[in-house]
Subunit: 352 residues, 2 copies
């Protein structure tokens, strides 16, 4: 058994990232601050939770919603409370356990706090990490929630088939880079959009996309899509919304499919953009499915079985943007909404 | 064999409804005019078409698109040409035939011209009418294209099941009134929206909807839907778009389904309304399918088998708004876009 660095029972300092107040519009770094508390590295008496040391924290677009004060609340999420630490997905090491399935030294991934140590009251939902010959941070990405999302989007929700024309927006991001590589492995023609030349180069040269374009340099997204998809798009993985979605609707093939797991361009603007082409859903008899990884966790064993060998054989690569130290977490998180990240954005709180 | 009233070969006057010029925004009566030509009641030598006398013409929302000069053209439609007669679905009687499957006296429904007599060059796509103990005008509605749409929407695209909560917009229209009755026959809770108190009364008192509301008198469509669907909507048949679609997205159940066959509120406005709630497609993992009757014509024999007995046994009723004479066609057609019609809008050119 790997020994945890800290001893269970010890009282230690615990740095935390706190929400200052509910966020309107773009989140700014100043909406978050760090403070230091102390924590006893022990699950409270009678608790069947676990006390974990957080190693890698995942920056995810959905976190923007959790910062807002909204009437509509998605079930299954812990909305943030001003004055309290924010939460998200992360990789952690068990320091103390009140749960029979977990013991000190276990590596896990799942929902945790943005802090150095967290007491997780319902550890049943954590995934135990068994494969440690891959970077542990991958469990915030290719082997974590974005991996489930990409796998489900391509293989289950999209039922993508060999030879199809696939378009991926936010293609260099946590989900997009994987979804594109999965579609390539299936034998599809795959084009991605991203927000910088550097990201476009990454897609074309390192991730094996057939083509890619910088949406910020395309005055006419419809024309850009027609250039890359003269015959139209069979499957679109939608992550951005707004103008891009509108242009895609014009360029879908009859009976094309769209899988929507996000619309990041629409999260921060006071009024969403008007879409002109929704009627094409009917004209072209499109099938549009919203989905989240949450409905596909049952696929995880199959995903591990498929993807771990692909990583080992270097048939799939995964680009991460890791910032060191929890104090740099707020900047990394808000950078997600301006596309500052290059690949999957991770915060390394500790490496072991 | 029923003898046609006119004799094949005779030269007769042929009144036609002509498109004056391409339409922008709301079609007006003045965008159309009638003129009279003459026509020989005979298929041209060597043609394997049919010469028909038009009896009932169908006013359909899609006709608005055919009046426009647009770059995007749906396949399978004959876009209108200024100076020429418009076309649509209708019921007609064969006067002369150059096609082995048709002979004088046959009753048919399908695509025809807005004129007294039409030469239909590809009669293969016409449906022959065999059941004549129901009103012939029904073949523009419950037993025609809107019938296929409603049947496909509820039974195929929507896979609606007993006990589900179903919302139908444009519920007293050609498709909505039927879709609601089909859902009631399945054992669903069904609520419809319409644009006048008279239509709401029709839905509740004659068509058997569980409830109905006048969307024009609801300042807050979200609140209205929450009133009728406190637990949310399982299936929505979308025909109107805009504000209603946006409010529905807020009120769908998780994994709810939407079938879109039209968005009539958006056809005439210069800029489509901005939808605020598209993210709910992802939040609630909705499945949204565009569809048209055109993909479901193979269901027609089954529809006849199911629906004709329902009509005979008065288990389904069908409300038509029939105007007499082709000259009144333009007003009837443009009235569709302001909701002037009460039930399925039909133009009776002749009754036999």
């Amino acid at each position: 058994m790997i020994m945890a660095k800290n001893n269970a029972g010890e009282e230690v300092q615990n740095k935390q990232v706190i929400l200052r107040d509910y966020v309107n519009g773009y989140p700014r770094e100043s909406d978050l601050y760090t403070r230091t508390n102390s924590i006893k590295l022990q699950v409270p008496q009678g608790s069947n939770g676990v006390l974990v040391k957080n190693l890698y924290l995942s920056c995810d677009p959905v976190m923007h919603f959790l910062m807002r004060k909204t009437e509509f609340r998605m079930s299954g999420y812990n909305y943030y409370v001003p004055g309290s630490p924010i939460n998200g997905y992360g990789v952690a090491k068990v320091v103390d356990s009140g749960h029979p399935n977990f013991s000190a030294g276990n590596l896990v991934w799942g929902a945790t706090g943005w802090e150095e140590y967290s007491h997780i009251q319902n550890p049943e939902k954590l995934f135990k990490i068994h494969h440690t010959d891959v970077p542990l941070s991958y469990y915030t990405g290719i082997l974590g929630m974005p991996g489930i999302t990409a796998y489900a989007g391509i293989f289950e929700v999209g039922s993508v088939k060999k030879g199809e024309c696939v378009f991926i927006s936010a293609a260099s991001g946590a989900v997009g880079q994987l979804a594109g590589q999965f579609a390539k492995l299936l034998g599809c023609y795959v084009v991605g959009s991203a927000g910088s030349q550097e990201k476009v180069d990454l897609l074309k040269n390192k991730l094996g996309f057939d083509n890619a374009f910088n949406y910020k340099e395309e005055p006419d997204l419809d024309a850009a899509l027609k250039r890359y998809f003269p015959e139209g798009i069979d499957f679109y993985l939608e992550q951005v919304g707004g103008k891009m979605f509108d242009a895609v609707l014009l360029n879908m093939k009859v009976h094309g499919r769209v899988a929507i797991c996000g619309m990041i361009s629409q999260y921060n603007i006071p009024e969403p953009e008007a879409l002109k082409n929704l009627m094409h859903i009917a004209f072209k008899r499109l099938n549009i499915k919203g989905f989240t990884h949450r409905d596909h966790h049952h696929l995880y064993p199959k995903i591990l079985e498929t993807v771990v060998p692909l990583i080992r054989e270097k048939k799939v690569v995964y680009v991460e943007d890791i910032v060191e130290r929890l104090e740099n977490g707020p900047a990394a998180l808000v950078g997600l909404f301006t596309g500052r990240n290059f690949g999957k954005q991770v915060v390394a709180v500790a490496h072991n």
